[in-house]
């Protein structure tokens, strides 16, 4: 059974309000559990101290895996396993291997990155995450505090002070 969390969350109507509030939370050293928005808000990540995503590094690694698979695979097949003479060309015809090598690089990189993305985010077909508020995917910006990390009354006061249009408590 997953353990439940008690949270206090506030909803803002505008991303500028949200950014100001997060700045204020940083100034007050209040620990935010998470911020939820209907679209990516630029400027939010550094404020929340989120490290840059390393997905592109993973993509590169997967891509290299694809390159090696394709190139070494074709090289072995056409030199060792079943060499055939095609149009008088040499067995190890590197220029002819390039298109497939490129395609497989892209294929492995894409599939790898996308699958990694879903896994590290904990998302996937059929995954159900607790809903904080139904309007977050519509037009509300949410800051949520975990009661076990931040004093609920402090969180509440902070949210009111920074202009949250609604403040709620919830167990998720």
């Amino acid at each position: 059974m997953s353990k439940t969390k008690d949270i206090i969350y506030g909803l803002y109507n505008d991303e500028q309000d949200l950014l100001r509030a997060v700045k204020a939370a940083n100034a007050d050293h209040l620990e935010i559990m998470d911020v939820y928005t209907p679209f990516p808000v630029h400027g939010l990540d550094p404020l929340l101290g989120l490290a840059e995503s390393r997905l592109h590094i993973a993509g590169f690694v997967y891509g290299m895996l694809g390159t090696l698979t394709a190139f070494l695979g074709m090289s072995w097949i056409f030199t060792k396993d079943w060499p055939v003479i095609f149009g008088g060309k040499p067995h190890w015809s590197v220029p002819a291997f390039i298109p497939i090598t490129f395609e497989l690089t892209v294929l492995f990189a894409s599939i790898g990155m996308v699958v990694t993305f879903y896994i590290i985010n904990g998302l996937g077909p059929g995954v159900v995450n607790p809903t904080i508020d139904l309007r977050i995917t519509d037009d509300k910006f949410c800051i949520a505090f975990d009661n076990s990390e931040t004093d609920p009354s402090k969180a509440q006061a902070f949210l009111k002070r920074t202009g949250a249009s609604e403040v709620h408590a919830k167990t998720i």
Binding site: T37, P38, F39, W82, S110, G163
Partner: protein
């Protein structure tokens, strides 16, 4: 806001939308019953699809003999259709990937539908290699997998196999890219849905929450996918062109094919996107999201790529002559004067002549003309592939082998079937998913919505609060009355204890200083500004500057543009001091204004 707010660019979202309006406009087509237009389109498409499936079954049962291919013309409508569909698919990736890399915000209005179109076009295309082989039931032999036939491997040196990898990769990457973008939008639909629909969209939205970290990774993923999808789309049609270019047939064996095919693919793809978007925006009432500006931008791309294609045609003709190679020269003579001359002229007219109409701004921005020309272009691009394939094969090196090809009813039926498949899938897509990228449009609202651009634009310096003082637009901000009921909270899922429901105080903006809309409530006498006479005051008013406050905030570059546009008489006027004067007038500092005007000479 760190991004510059333009005061001359056309708005990409019209109608003074709020975030909630965007959600409402874009999700509601999936929530209401389909209209008459959709139903009629669907019935026609399903009928065509059904007939197509019947023709495919006929082909597999009776064999390729039911087609009119022969020894000479071994590729006819099958490969023509294949290349045509793949070409159409390229626009989606270009719009999503390449325009993302070039930071073109207008792509957000059309990218979702264009990517969906890509996927459906690739499905239609992939059908043809699958069924044009003799034994369609063992077509999986093409894939390199360990087998008991040796193990026997396919020929990796052949462009036909490169095609297999290219198309498969292209399909997979497009699908992943499209779906990744859809996940947050499905979450938006999910959170508005009830009952079975909610369950379905729950599965489709993968549990998306809108968490900041997830968005950060989402953007990173989209950027990298765009980065690798770009060379992918270029490579896919290059590889398709290699099917022809690596042969020895005159008219085929030419190095111009890769760029020519890629440009042609983008050309026909954008034409198909325009055809679909014009119908979609009309039927789903999305003219404020898929604006005339979007249509104009796409027409510009069509003009460029169409011109490239035209130049390629002329280059081929020139090189055929310049090379002195009689077979190449004959190949082109045959295209223009041989048995298929009508297809060549059709191609030339549809592809080279017709897009040139878009040099004229009025036609670029006309929906009716765009729709008509987009269909003409698609027909023309079909003829181009037909000219390349059937015309050339019918008259190659050995006159004793010359032949004539025209399609059988089975081939025509399969083509109609793919049209049916494409439109069926597209219509289903419009029912199930939001046709425009909801989250992306919301993210460009502040920089491209019409309440923030043009004369309403506010400059980055010193007006941060005003630029985002759109709370008065959010009418629903005042909807949240104090609710002391401790039963079901607004989330509707679990009881949320409303600790305090604050009736919205516009903290970030002063209520009476909302977004400046075109119809100003007050007009100031701009002639008080030295350098501004009655004519110039009129020019400023027409440009949306009616008050001292607006003139004070206006950018001198913008004013200069207004003056330049008004005519040569006004070009010498220097508006450099006008904003400064207007600021004093706005604040009512008339003495200082008089002093300033004494110092100024003629407002310079």
């Amino acid at each position: 806001m760190s991004s510059p707010i333009s005061n001359i660019r056309e708005p990409l979202v019209q109608g003074h939308k709020s975030y909630h309006d965007i959600t409402e406009d874009l999700v509601s087509p999936t929530e209401r019953k389909p209209g008459l237009g959709w139903t009629i389109g669907f019935i026609i498409s399903i009928t065509l699809l059904g007939f197509g499936l019947f023709c495919i079954a006929w082909t597999i049962w009776f064999g390729i003999g039911s087609w009119n291919l022969n020894r000479t013309v071994g590729w006819g409508w099958d490969i023509t259709n294949f290349v045509w569909w793949i070409g159409i698919g390229h626009a989606g990736t270009l719009i999503s990937a390449i325009l993302l890399l070039f930071r073109q915000k207008w792509r957000t209005g059309v990218n979702r539908a264009a990517e969906a179109m890509t996927i459906f076009a690739v499905i239609c295309a992939a059908l043809f290699p699958g069924i044009h082989v003799g034994r369609a039931w063992v077509v999986f032999y093409f894939f390199p997998y360990p087998n008991t036939r040796g193990p026997l491997w396919p020929n990796f040196n052949s462009p036909l196999l490169w095609d297999l990898f290219a198309i498969s990769t292209y399909f997979t990457v497009s699908l992943l890219f499209w779906y990744t973008g859809l996940v947050p939008d499905f979450a938006t639909v999910r959170d508005r849905a009830k009952g079975l629909r909610r369950k379905i969209y729950n599965v489709l939205s993968f549990g998306w929450t809108g968490s900041a970290k997830h968005w950060q990774r989402w953007e990173a993923l989209c950027l990298v996918l765009a980065g690798i999808a770009t060379p992918l789309v270029l490579s896919v049609h290059t590889i398709v062109s290699f099917d022809f270019a690596t042969s020895v047939i005159p008219g085929w064996h030419t190095t111009i094919f890769p760029p020519y095919f890629v440009a042609g693919a983008i050309f026909s793809g954008f034409a198909m996107v325009l055809t679909l978007m014009i119908v979609t925006r009309k039927l789903l009432n999305l003219q404020e999201y898929i604006t005339i500006g979007h249509i104009e931008s796409m027409n510009k791309v069509i003009l460029v790529t169409g011109t490239i294609v035209g130049v390629a045609y002329l280059t081929e003709l020139f090189i055929a002559w310049y090379s002195g190679y009689v077979y190449e020269q004959f190949a082109f003579f045959n295209r223009a004067a041989g048995p298929y001359w009508w297809s060549y002229f059709g191609m030339m007219f549809c592809n080279v002549i017709s897009p040139q109409i878009f040099w004229v701004r009025k036609f670029r921005r006309s929906v009716a003309i765009t729709f008509f020309v987009s269909i003409v272009i698609n027909i023309g691009m079909w003829f181009e592939r037909f000219v390349i394939i059937a015309t050339t094969l019918a008259r190659d090196y050995l006159p004793s082998s010359w032949s004539y090809y025209s399609p059988s009813w089975v081939e025509i039926g399969i083509f109609l079937g793919t049209l049916g498949l494409f439109f069926t899938l597209y219509l289903l897509f419009t029912r199930v998913a939001p046709v425009v990228a909801i989250a992306e449009v919301k993210s460009i609202l502040k920089t491209a919505g019409d309440q923030y651009t043009g004369p309403n634009a506010i400059h980055a310096h010193g007006h941060e609060h005003d630029a985002h003082g759109d709370s008065s637009q959010h009418d629903h901000a005042f909807d949240h009355e104090v609710d002391n009921d401790l039963t079901v909270g607004p989330s509707g899922i679990a009881p949320a204890i409303a600790l305090e429901t604050v009736v919205e105080e516009p903290t970030s903006s002063v209520v009476d200083k909302g977004p400046r809309i075109q119809s100003s409530t007050s007009v100031d006498d701009l002639k008080r500004i030295e350098g501004v006479g009655p004519k110039i005051a009129e020019i400023l008013n027409n440009g949306g500057i009616n008050t001292f406050a607006q003139l004070a905030d206006a950018d001198t570059v913008f004013i200069k543009q207004l003056l330049d546009a008004a005519g040569p008489r006004f070009r010498t006027h220097d508006p450099g001091s006008w904003p400064e004067q207007a600021a004093l007038a706005r604040d009512g500092r008339w003495d200082e204004l008089n002093d300033l005007q004494d110092r100024l000479d003629g407002g310079k």
